[in-house]
Amino acid sequence: MQIRETLRSTYPVILLAVVVAICVTILTGVGNITLPRIEAMEKQKVEKMLSEMFPRMTGYTFEDEIYSVYSGDDTVGHAFIAIGKGYGGNINILVGLEDEQTIKGIIVVSHTETPGLGSLITEDFFTDQFTSVTIDDMALRRDGGQIDAITGATISSRAVAEAVRVTAWDKVELLRGNEAGT
């Protein structure tokens, strides 16, 4: 009698635990199955973007978080991923280096900015502003740089410009160090 009573009063809790357990199992399973596919897809995406940025690319290597792009035996440029703190989370940007002072161009790989406002950072009219600009000029106009912010999306625009500039200097330092070492 008493056991029955206990069972009845704990049933809601047990059911909740069972539902959570089932959901966690399903999510873990699906997460494991989809992870390699998602990663492969990301890699393919980066490859496509690199060849868009460096049309002469025949191959590339990835070392110290820097993509070195080759055309035959010649190095035609370097690229890296910069991560900006946007309005809605991280913004991942693929940045191409023309030389040690100049940016070749940028492509926004992924972001979670507000649709219709911050999400405009992926559009050509914004990213084209970064093409062949010196690293020092990578800042919003109001911050003394050369980039026009998107109306209503100053935080997203600034996040991209700042991330590109700061990360570019880091990577240039790193590349110089590598060259001096070899």
Binding site: V13, T34, G116
Partner: protein, 203 residues
């Protein structure tokens, strides 16, 4: 009219999720800046709302009322994450367009609201009809709001890259406030007032 049909039709106007139930306003106002966004969000709501209503109508018999809300939330959150993962892995093109809307659906109280108010008390077929009706009602509201916001806020109308028309003066100096959050509240409030005044909506 059959009951299923009635459950479908009621979502369009009489219990429209946005204009009458006033549910899911946060994502609704956040993404109703253009027709493209409105349709993208509608598709995301459709998938999750239908899935949630089906699952919850199926298990409604064994869910005790005391823990029903946490159980519904766990199921909805799982569903959203699942859809997000599967789309990312198998339908990358669709995920690229829907990716930013899907996480917003989890905070969309239309989904929890329908699970709680309808699917937990009604059989499967009627719950499906309810989900479909609510989705269409959501789409109608989103299209109305986003049409006005996009027109005034950008001065032109284009859907999925196809240019439809431009407004003569606004195209040169668009009223950006209508794309921004305050414009969303303004349009939403004015639309509600207009629809009540004209007697389309009754409380």
């Amino acid at each position: 009219m059959s009951t299923s049909k009635k459950e479908f039709v009621k979502g369009l106007i009489t219990t429209n999720p946005v204009f009458v139930l006033l549910l899911g306003l946060c994502p609704a106002l956040a993404v109703s800046t253009s027709i493209d966004n409105a349709l993208g969000m509608t598709l995301a709501v459709f998938i999750v709302l239908l899935g949630a209503n089906v699952i919850i109508a199926a298990i409604r018999g064994i869910v005790p009322s005391i823990t029903r809300i946490p159980i519904f939330i766990v199921i909805i959150a799982t569903l959203v994450t699942l859809v997000n993962l599967l789309f990312n892995a198998f339908l990358p093109d669709l995920h690229a367009t829907l990716g930013i809307y899907l996480p917003l659906v989890v905070v969309n109280c239309i989904v929890l609201g329908r699970a709680e108010a309808f699917a937990s008390k009604n059989p499967m077929v009627r719950s499906i009809a309810d989900a479909l009706g609510m989705t269409v009602g959501f789409m109608i509201a989103m299209l109305m709001i986003s049409f006005i916001r996009q027109m005034l806020g950008t001065g032109e109308m284009s859907v999925f890259g196809f240019h439809i028309f431009s407004l003569p003066v606004l195209i040169d100096s668009p009223m950006a406030i209508f794309i921004l959050p305050p414009g969303g509240f303004l349009i939403m409030g004015l639309l509600l007032a207009l629809l009540r005044w004209k007697g389309v909506l009754k409380l």
